[in-house]
Symmetry: C2
Amino acid sequence: MPKTLIVGAGMVRFGKFAPEITLEKLATGAARNAMKDCGVSRKDIEAVFVGHVFGGPVAGQRIATELGLGGLPVSNHENYCASGATALREAWTAISAGLYDIVLVIGVEKMTDRVKGGVAPDANDLDAMHGYIMTAGHAMSARRYMHDHNATREQIAAVVVKNHAHSQHNPYAQYQHAISLDEVLHARPIADPLGLLDCSPISDGAAAAIVCSEKGLAKLGITEKRPEVRGVALVSGTLRAGTGDINEEDISRRAGRLAYQMASIDPADIDFVEMHDCFSIAEIVRMEGLDLIPTGEGARWTESGKTSIGGQLPVNPSGGLLSRGHPVGATGMAQVCELYWQLTGQAGARQVEDAKLALAYCKGGTVAGTDGGAVSVVVMSV
Amino acid sequence: MPKTLIVGAGMVRFGKFAPEITLEKLATGAARNAMKDCGVSRKDIEAVFVGHVFGGPVAGQRIATELGLGGLPVSNHENYCASGATALREAWTAISAGLYDIVLVIGVEKMTDRVKGGVAPDANDLDAMHGYIMTAGHAMSARRYMHDHNATREQIAAVVVKNHAHSQHNPYAQYQHAISLDEVLHARPIADPLGLLDCSPISDGAAAAIVCSEKGLAKLGITEKRPEVRGVALVSGTLRAGTGDINEEDISRRAGRLAYQMASIDPADIDFVEMHDCFSIAEIVRMEGLDLIPTGEGARWTESGKTSIGGQLPVNPSGGLLSRGHPVGATGMAQVCELYWQLTGQAGARQVEDAKLALAYCKGGTVAGTDGGAVSVVVMSV
């Protein structure tokens, strides 16, 4: 199977943009940055893979046309918050099959004008009808975690403080300022014990990468080593609402094991993680679900700095969803950009020292039990 | 590259269903029929690929959960009316890459309650704002065709008569009755010269297939020869509204050539075609765009019976979009089902004699010039 390499990455800064800054503009901005990053021109690109949730039919084709790539194979891929990673998966699969040597992958979302009032649960979601929406689910997860593992509210809030500290040094982050533990603890309550700063924001944004085979690398005349996509695991599953343990994270465990097997790695060798911290507590329980932090230790690890840059296993050096922002379809590709920058030593003041092997995790779907969810795990190494 | 084979196909009858007959029910019905068709059980299936446009986020995961396939990799693929074919493309790519041996591919759409009043053009489509919507575009295409090629209204209407004649024998078709030329010519006018019967209907429906590698075939203990997916071409492009020749069909020509090359076939050897006849005239100009009928001859070929079952090159033995119906995300997979049934000699009274090599074409996007479109071409042989 041909190797899949990331040879260029590009983003636009995440944030809240006016209606004139369209989905297409965000996506083309990120794509052009990725192309410039590695000197790829339009004629080099053989296919375009686009991940988004709310862009509407053939959004990818509109983006390709604006990029001057009209004519190429263009496909749109959706798996809720794992949409960007799913687009990467299709590109990785196509390169593995030998179909293409140089492709463009984009994750994009314009939330502010396309998703008024935030992401709504499915109309037929019985749990949501009874109030069991995202925030409620993660609040219950936090309560259960604190009870089961003797963890404190402050330890969970430390995730937010850490991720904001990290993204001070990320020029593409929606928030680029540090916040204090006190600010997290005294933010407007959302679903007890979680406050506003425990929740990822509504964001617009795009992230893109140029993805190649080794033959593509040679075509482009690139001689330096580039990060390899070792595997993209995708699994689905249902959270067990109301029964069992809300923090069981069976879906994360299955995705992690599949990814470790695909990539032939020992998870203990992973140098840093980009984690889907849609809520502060989610970073903790998902890291444990991946068997990267011992069960019940995630909150204490965070408080003690083990998951900070410079710590034992840095999590979200980019700032994560909480502070880089979360334009849902873009998030998976923003993680891929961060992995690329870190693994090539280009992450500046947020650089994880000696990073060789990294993992990115996305979870899409609803927290409630009746709907399916998607978890993607990307493993990259240099 | 491992070969990709279709080993089972299943549909539900296309039509207009009550809100209780949900997208999930349609999809699971088609999937179960495909599984039954080849004796595949749930434990055999390794991944699920779903094509739809209006199903909403993670519709594929909801479908997989209802099928008892929760847990598997599930992905959602959108390319407007080429969405079903795009899902097949991703499955074909994954099997070619050696990722899976047995997968389920579903195309589904619930139009009647999800797309009130039919498919609307993009809000920013300047051409559409000025009245250049689908029906207007195809009406102009028909006028131009009649002018350029000395074709008659009756010859174009013959497409509708033929496709209804074919679908009398298709138990999954929305319409299963013959219609007369007179009925087509005197139907309610829509956009002159096209009347109501020249336009494909609003439909609900689903179609599915079990897609395998040769290893998968052996695992299932199937010893008979099964149709091979020889290639799935995908291209994008923009129709030139207001400039040039509206019937140029450059996008179809590029897709066709790519598919012939992928499949290493001479298009002259194709035994029948499933064509995206969203409007009567579209069947004619697209067949010519694919170089399967000489330019300017399509209308006369239809009138003379050359594209009927028993003719030189049967087009739409299933009844096509005009008479089988057109649930947009399902259409590409309904074509794949028809190819499978025809190539395995299971098409009953609509069987194309001695069918060995077949092509299915889908076109997604808007007719107007500002947006991108997607064209897929699937080639299968036995």
